[in-house]
Amino acid sequence: MTSLITLYLQGEIVEESIEFTLGELSRASGASTEQLSLWVAEGAFEPRGEATLAWRFSGSALRRAATAQRLTRDLGLNAAGVALALDLLEEIETLRTRPNR
C-alpha cells in the first residue's frame, strides 16, 4: 500500500505580513496605477515612502483598493467620491461590529 502525502500550500496573510508596491497593488486589486495615484493624492490611501516608485502600501490597502476599483467602475465615482465612500463604509462596518459603543 502506498502512503499518500498531501502537501498543503502555505500562504501569507496579506494584512499581516505583506506590503505592496504601486504595481503590485494595481495587479492584485484591478485598479490602474493612475487610479491608485489619484486616490493617494486624495488621501484615501497613505503609502509609506515619498516618491511614487518608493511607495509601499500596507496589506490592508488591497481590500480598500479592490472596493474603490469596483465603485469607480460600477458607479462612476471620482476620486473624492471614492475617498468618501471608503471612509463611510469603514465607519458602517465599525458600527455593525460594535453596536453598543
Binding site: 498543503y8 500562504g11 501569507e12 496573510i13 465603485l71 460600477d74 465612500a85 460594535r98
Partner: protein
C-alpha cells in the same frame, strides 16, 4: 431560455427617455451595489440592472429589444423570432465600461457575449492574472489553524486562446490567527501565464461561517454567559466554552448583569510574532428562573423578606 423584462428590472415604463434610463440605472446601481448593500439578493439585482442598462442605454439595442414586444407569450421558454434584428447594426461589445460580462442566456443570445469576455491572442506574452476567491472558515480554524481542500473554478486559456472554466482543487493551510476580511496570498497559484510571463497569485478572502455564540471584533472575541442569580450574587466557578475548548473562570461575588470579564490572551491568537493576541470577553447574562412550583415561589418570597430591597428607590418625588 427565459425572456428578461429589462424595463421591469429598472422599474421604468417602456416609454422612458434615455435620460430617465440613465438616472434609474445610477440610482439602482448605488442601491444594490454589493459593496454597499449587504443583503443576500443585492448582487443578483445589481447584475440584472447592469444587464438591462447595457441594452436600454443603447438606442439600437433598445429598439431591437422593443420589437420583441411587451411580455411575449412564450416568455418562460423564449425563442427570438427569425430575423428579429434585421436592420440593426451593432457589434455587441462596443464600449468596455460598465459591469463585467456575466449576463443571462437571454442577453447572450440576443446581443452576443458579455463585454467582459476575454479572448487572448495566442502569441501574447503576459503575466498570469491574479485570482480572487472566498473561503468560509470556522472561528475555531483561526484558533487552531486548519487544513482545507478548496475547489475553485478558474478560467484557463488553451493554446488557441479560448478561455474555458476548469475546476481545480487546492490543499491549503489556513494559518492560525487569520481573521474574516483578511486575505491569504498563495504566490504563483493564480492564472497561468500566457507565453513566458510569470503566473499570477491567488488571493483567498476569509469569511467566518455563521455562528451565534461568539461575536468577533478585530482580534477580540466575546460571548454571553448565562448564569443563575445566586451565581452572580455569591460568586461561582464556571466553565466557559471558547472556540478552542473550555476554560474555567471565577465569577466574582456581587457581579451585576452585563458585567464584562476579560480572559486575557484567549481571543484570536497572534498570526505573526509582531501582532498581539486577542482577548476573550465573557459578558454575564443573569437568567431568572421562573417561579412555578410552591417551593420556588416560597424561595422568591424568602428573598423578598430577607432583602427589603426596592429597585425603584430613586424614583421618588415628582416624575419630571
Amino acid at each position: 431560455m427565459k425572456y428578461k423584462d429589462y424595463y421591469e428590472a429598472m422599474g421604468l415604463p417602456r416609454t422612458a427617455t434615455q435620460a430617465e434610463i440613465k438616472a434609474a440605472h445610477r440610482k439602482l446601481a448605488r442601491k444594490f451595489h454589493p459593496d454597499l448593500n449587504q443583503k443576500a439578493d443585492a448582487e443578483a439585482r445589481f447584475k440584472d440592472v447592469g444587464e438591462a442598462y447595457q441594452v436600454l442605454k443603447d438606442p439600437e439595442k433598445r429598439a431591437a429589444y422593443d420589437r420583441l414586444g411587451e411580455k411575449p407569450d412564450n416568455a418562460e421558454d423564449f425563442r427570438p423570432p427569425p430575423n428579429w434584428n434585421d436592420g440593426f447594426e451593432y457589434s455587441g461589445r462596443g464600449d468596455k465600461s460598465g459591469t463585467q460580462g456575466d449576463f443571462s442566456d437571454f442577453f447572450e443570445s440576443m446581443f452576443g457575449g458579455g463585454e467582459g469576455a476575454q479572448r487572448y491572442h495566442p502569441s501574447m506574452h503576459a503575466a498570469g492574472q491574479d485570482h480572487h476567491a472566498k473561503v468560509v472558515i470556522d472561528l475555531r480554524d483561526s484558533f487552531t489553524g486548519a487544513q482545507r481542500a478548496i475547489t475553485l473554478q478558474m478560467p484557463v486559456a488553451d493554446a488557441q486562446g479560448h478561455v474555458t472554466m476548469q475546476s481545480r482543487t487546492l490543499n491549503v493551510s489556513i494559518p492560525k490567527g487569520i481573521r474574516a476580511g483578511q486575505r491569504l496570498r498563495l504566490a504563483g497559484q493564480g492564472g497561468a501565464a500566457l507565453g513566458k510571463g510569470p503566473s499570477g497569485d491567488l488571493y483567498l478572502e476569509i469569511e467566518w461561517r455563521e455562528q451565534t455564540r461568539y461575536r468577533v471584533d478585530g482580534r477580540d472575541v466575546s460571548l454571553d454567559l448565562p448564569i443563575a442569580p445566586w451565581e452572580a450574587a455569591l460568586g461561582a466557578d464556571v466553565t466557559v466554552p471558547t472556540p478552542d475548548g473550555s476554560v474555567s473562570m471565577t465569577v466574582p461575588r456581587n457581579s451585576a448583569n452585563g458585567r464584562r470579564l476579560r480572559l486575557k490572551g484567549r481571543g484570536i491568537p497572534r498570526a505573526t510574532p509582531a501582532t498581539p493576541t486577542g482577548d476573550l470577553y465573557v459578558v454575564l447574562d443573569v437568567v431568572l428562573p421562573p417561579a412555578d412550583t410552591d417551593a420556588e415561589k416560597a424561595a422568591y418570597g424568602a428573598l423578598r423578606d430577607a432583602f427589603k430591597f426596592d429597585p425603584r428607590a430613586n424614583f421618588t418625588g415628582d416624575s419630571t
